[in-house]
């Protein structure tokens, strides 16, 4: 696979490939399908040139939000504003938004070049202009030599890159990506992920990316919008989202968390016999609660008298993840692999908290629907 070109191609520059990022505001969007509320008063502002990812489990409303933004669905109530202008009643055809779909959406009857030039043809550009610009965009995604091929002659990754070039060709005000990587194998997915991010930054185009893969969302987006049951749980930068989740749902859904029952007074909790401050910013919980611990929030020390023992061990290269059974509670702990190598299954250890504070959530069950 060819990397994204670093040097601008003739005629292709951030100024003439993208019309410049537009600001987007989704305001109180409600969309129901029968009794199911896919969007429940969704409100979100997206800055010009920002890359935002909608992340959430199946059925959380992320794709519906994208489709409402694209104009494929009309909201029951609420507005979509692009650069301050209400486009809620504008057809998808006239919204100037490029979209890359989950399934390969190339037109099978057209060559790669014709696919990329399709949007330009709809804009009544001359044949020469179309061919030149489509060729440039194919160069941009590293497929200049595939122009005369047909979609069925390309691999999945190549097809999605053509779809990306086709979406960019119309100089969209907003680029919409609906799980474009989910049908690809892991290696191609990682390559294309980098390529999309580089192109987005280079063209400075406002981009909305829908995914259920947290790794994709965290590695690509400027901000991640975690959704559940049609509403937003938290919108934050990837590091904030991971390190400072404000709701138990986010803590559970983003990254790995172990739930440890504690008694909370709203300020402090005692975990493994150790006093820890409760993280501020979330809902204050008093009484019986659960502490949500990241694997890196916990350390273990080999101790034959320790109240935990290792039940599982997974090697991840630099780190090794241990599952330590403490009473009834399995706790995941990340250790350096050189230290983890000496820790055998069944070994007794003493866990301790190394995070400066911990997130405490009410003990009510938080069920994260599985993507599988």
């Amino acid at each position: 696979m060819t990397d994204v070109q670093d040097s601008p191609k003739p005629g292709v520059s951030p100024t003439n490939t993208s019309a410049g990022g537009a600001s987007v505001r989704l305001e109180g969007l409600v969309r129901s399908y029968g009794k199911v509320r896919a969007l429940d008063g969704l409100t979100l502002s997206i800055e010009p040139g920002e890359f935002i990812a909608f992340l959430g489990p199946s059925g959380c409303g992320k794709t519906t939000a994208l489709r409402v933004l694209a104009g494929f669905e009309r909201p029951d109530s609420g507005r979509v504003l692009v650069d301050g202008k209400d486009v809620s009643n504008v057809n998808a055809q006239k919204r100037d938004m490029g979209m890359v779909f989950q399934s390969y959406s190339l037109f099978p009857n057209m060559s790669v070049l014709d696919n990329v030039a399709f949007g330009l043809r709809m804009r009544r550009q001359s044949g020469d202009q179309r061919r030149t610009k489509a060729g440039e965009l194919l160069e941009l995604v590293g497929l200049g030599d595939q122009a005369i091929k047909y979609p069925h002659q390309l691999s999945g990754g190549q097809q999605q890159r053509v779809a990306l070039a086709r979406a960019l060709a119309i100089e969209p005000r907003v680029l919409l990506l609906d799980e474009p990587l989910s049908a690809l194998d892991a290696k191609v997915r990682a390559e294309l992920r980098d390529q999309i991010r580089q192109l987005q930054q280079r063209l400075d185009i406002t981009t909305v990316f829908v995914t259920h893969d947290q790794e994709e969302a965290l590695s690509m987006a400027d901000r991640v919008c975690v959704m559940s049951s049609g509403h937003i749980e938290q919108v934050a930068s990837p590091d904030t989202l991971y390190a400072r989740p404000t709701t138990a749902f986010v803590a559970q859904f983003v990254g790995i968390s172990s739930r440890v029952p504690v008694q909370s007074d709203g300020k402090e909790v005692v975990i493994f016999g150790q006093r820890c401050p409760v993280r501020s910013g979330g809902t204050v919980v008093s009484g019986p609660a659960d502490a949500l611990l990241r694997p890196e929030d916990v350390a273990v020390e080999v101790d034959p008298q320790g109240d935990g023992f290792i039940t599982h061990k997974s090697f991840f290269g630099a780190t090794t993840r241990l599952v330590v059974q403490v009473g009834e509670i399995p706790v995941r702990v990340d250790v350096r692999s050189d230290a983890g190598a000496d820790m055998a299954l069944g070994l007794h250890v003493r866990p301790s908290i190394i995070a400066r504070d911990v997130l405490v959530a009410s003990r009510t069950a938080i069920d994260i629907p599985s993507e599988d």
Partner: protein, 283 residues
């Protein structure tokens, strides 16, 4: 590889030297397939052979092309042929104009209605043509009664089951929703999307729908006869009393003509695909 079920099934059978049970079973299936093929072939080909043989004989039973060569000059043949041709083309056009948007609409917007459509489009098959034509002839306005194109309206109804099914299969084979949405997001109007994106990807379905419509119109007798128009089947039935050799020659010519037309359509489609692939450098 022999599955557990197969090994169980064959474990008590005698197996010849060098022959595995699976091989033996496959051989048995091959023979049965051949038998079925020969019986089906005879069923279809025997009447055709008899027909051609009769059409290629003169009154004294000797081999002759006379019946075929005299066809164009027979009274009423050309008129009947061109009337059938006009009706076939008109019917196919109306059929496609009506059914293509309907099938697309059902697939895109009302997918839950597909089982209902399946049922509704079967109705023309279960309602006898004579019921349709007699009722309408009694109540149709005069200008329609005087036009042969009244028949086309019936033919559209009669061909609907075949055309709808053909289109339904074609639409099910493509990711219609994504293609339409991709086209719309790129600025394509509905008409442009239909013409440039959907129709080219439905080519095979459109061709088969057209071919089935043409074949149906060229073979329909009851309605045309009751409506008083001499289409090809009506002419064949009428002329049969004058000369059976000529009418059979006409039937055979129609059959071959329809078959040639279908072959040409399929060949044109294949040649276009091949050209496209060659252009793309794969063949």
């Amino acid at each position: 590889m022999v599955t557990v079920a197969e090994s169980y099934f064959f474990e008590n059978e005698e197996v010849g030297p060098g022959e595995t049970p699976v091989k033996r079973r496959r051989k048995k299936y091959r023979i049965w397939r051949l038998v079925v093929l020969v019986i089906a072939g005879l069923y279809f080909l025997a009447p055709l052979y008899a027909g051609f043989r009769f059409a290629l004989q003169n009154d004294s039973g000797k081999f002759s092309f006379w019946a075929f060569s005299s066809l164009p000059s027979e009274q009423g043949f050309s008129a009947a042929f061109f009337l059938s041709m006009r009706l076939a083309i008109f019917t196919a056009l109306v059929e496609l104009i009506l059914m293509v948007p309907t099938a697309i609409f059902v697939h895109l917007r009302l997918p839950k209605l597909r089982p209902v459509m399946d049922f509704v489009t079967i109705l023309p098959i279960v309602v006898p043509p004579i019921v349709l034509i007699v009722g309408v002839l009694g109540s149709a306005p005069l200008f329609l009664k005087e036009s042969p194109y009244l028949l086309s309206i019936f033919y559209v109804v009669l061909a609907m089951p075949f055309v709808y099914r053909s289109l339904d299969a074609g639409l099910s084979a493509i990711d219609l929703r994504t293609l339409v949405e991709a086209s719309r997001s790129l600025g394509g109007s509905w008409i442009r999307t239909l013409w440039s994106v959907i129709m080219p990807n439905l080519r095979a379905a459109l061709l088969s729908a057209t071919a089935l419509t043409l074949a149906l119109v060229f073979g329909e007798y009851t309605m045309a006869n009751l409506d008083g128009w001499t289409t090809m089947p009506v002419w064949i039935a009428q002329f049969q009393q004058s000369d059976a050799h000529v009418t059979l020659a006409a039937s055979m010519a129609l059959l071959v003509g329809t078959w040639l037309l279908l072959s040409l359509i399929v060949a044109a489609d294949r040649s276009q695909s091949r050209r496209r692939s060659r252009k793309a450098g794969t063949r």
